[in-house]
């Protein structure tokens, strides 16, 4: 079993309070399903849309990152899956697509030699 980070990318404002409620319901249902099937290692967290970026030798601090809305990382979770194909299948159930977003599936590298 390996672990995968799901990065939820993209953001668009829901059209109405009723839509927001539907979104919450869908995400809750999805996490519930992942938990029930034993795939959810960590629900993770949502992320503020921007913070600070510390960069370069001079360690300059700027506001940001200001990605395009479709590239925003809105949050992450950690999922257990036997292989990446399986992890991708799990990602396909994510409600993020309905809002025009995407899910980036990245295997965690571990100490075990491959």
């Amino acid at each position: 079993m390996s672990q995968y980070v799901f990065f939820y990318r993209g953001w668009s404002a829901p059209a109405s309070p009723a839509d927001m409620q539907k979104q919450v319901e869908k995400w809750s249902a999805w996490f519930k399903e992942l938990t029930a099937s034993g795939h959810l290692a960590d629900r993770g967290y949502p992320l503020e849309r921007s913070g600070k970026v510390v960069a370069g030798q001079s360690k300059s601090v700027t506001d940001g990152p200001f990605a395009e809305t479709k590239d925003f990382i809105g949050g992450y979770s950690i999922v257990d899956a036997p292989d990446i194909a399986h992890a991708v299948e799990l990602a396909k159930g994510c409600p993020n697509f309905e809002m025009g977003g995407s899910v980036e599936v990245r295997p965690l590298l571990t100490l075990a030699p491959r």
Binding site: P17, M20, Q21, E25, S28, F31, R43, P46, G74
Partner: protein, 413 residues
Amino acid sequence: MSDVDALVGDLFRHEAGKMVSILVRLFGTERLALAEDVVQDVLCRALEVWKFRGVPDNPSAWIVAAAKNRVIDTLRREKKAKAYVHTVIAEDDGAVDALFQPEAIRDDQLRMMYSCCHPKLKEDVQVALVLHILCGFTTAEIAQAFLTGHAAIEKRILRGKTALAASKHLLDLHSDDVAARLPAVQRALYLLFNEGYHGANATTAVRAELCREAIYLVELLLEHPRARTGPTYGLAALMCLHAARLPARTDDAGHFVPMEQQDRTKWDPALVVKGHFYLGQSAQGWELADYQIEAAIASEHVRAPSADETDWEAIVALYDRLYALRPSAIVALNRAIALGHHAGAKRGLKEVLGITDGERLESYPFYWATRGEFAARCGKTAEALEAFRKARKRARNPFERDHYAARIAALAP
């Protein structure tokens, strides 16, 4: 943290209405857009956090706390924002805290409700505005629910917001205007309920939602001591007693089922009990409005074990009283139907044919359906068929059209 089950029905929409009311009270009616932006932000934050971390045990308190923090932040960070604030509040959190106390929130919702029913505004504007601001419906959602064009609803809401902005402050609950405006508020809620119960959109879910909103608002109104009058209780009673029958009004295929044929075990017992409680309360005071009588009629229906065992005589008498208060062809038609049940189809048909005000009534499908029903019962099949064909032609939605078509098919030789 609990799961999504903690999210009761319309939480986001209703919280939006509460928060907008508080913020408008704080920033003034001309800054409704600012209030709406802040609320949108707060709700988006709730959405993001709850998606991942689950819904808190008290989601409403979470939103209130988040909105409060946003207000404190805004006041501290933006000097300009302070100039907006109508109510004089000190910079300390205590003053802001007071704004977000449950009673204060409720009062602000009530003030908003009265303010939306400004006498200068047309009734359809008032209804759209109340739904938009207090119930968190977007323009698109209202247009969809009412089967009205998007542009028309947008215009109504804009007109409403402009009038609201011109009044600067929300109506003070202690002012004399409150009593004067109460009938307008009742009327707007009554229209909203009717839009749900009889309106153009025949989708069961939409009907139920609009009726639920009307009940939510009338119960909010009942929390205001000065609004707790006989007519307001009557209005609440009639909404509950009618809404109780909604689950039986359509069959599994979504077809309309007339009351006589409804499965009465499907009527919502909780709403029946609540409706009767309100009906009992509505007898207080001397004020009698048509709402109490309509509720009493609805009560006769829900108390009857079957259509045949309905006390039609009592219903006819109630319609007589209703007609005295509100003489309209529709009331006369409903009275004729009750009379037909009480004294036979022949008598009912004679009564229906005797109603003057033909022109308006003739565009009303239910008028023709009534004539058709009585004629059929009198054995006048040809007359009944003709009447049902006219009803079908005037049907306002597929729901009605299908029902009349089925009657025609059943009668056709």
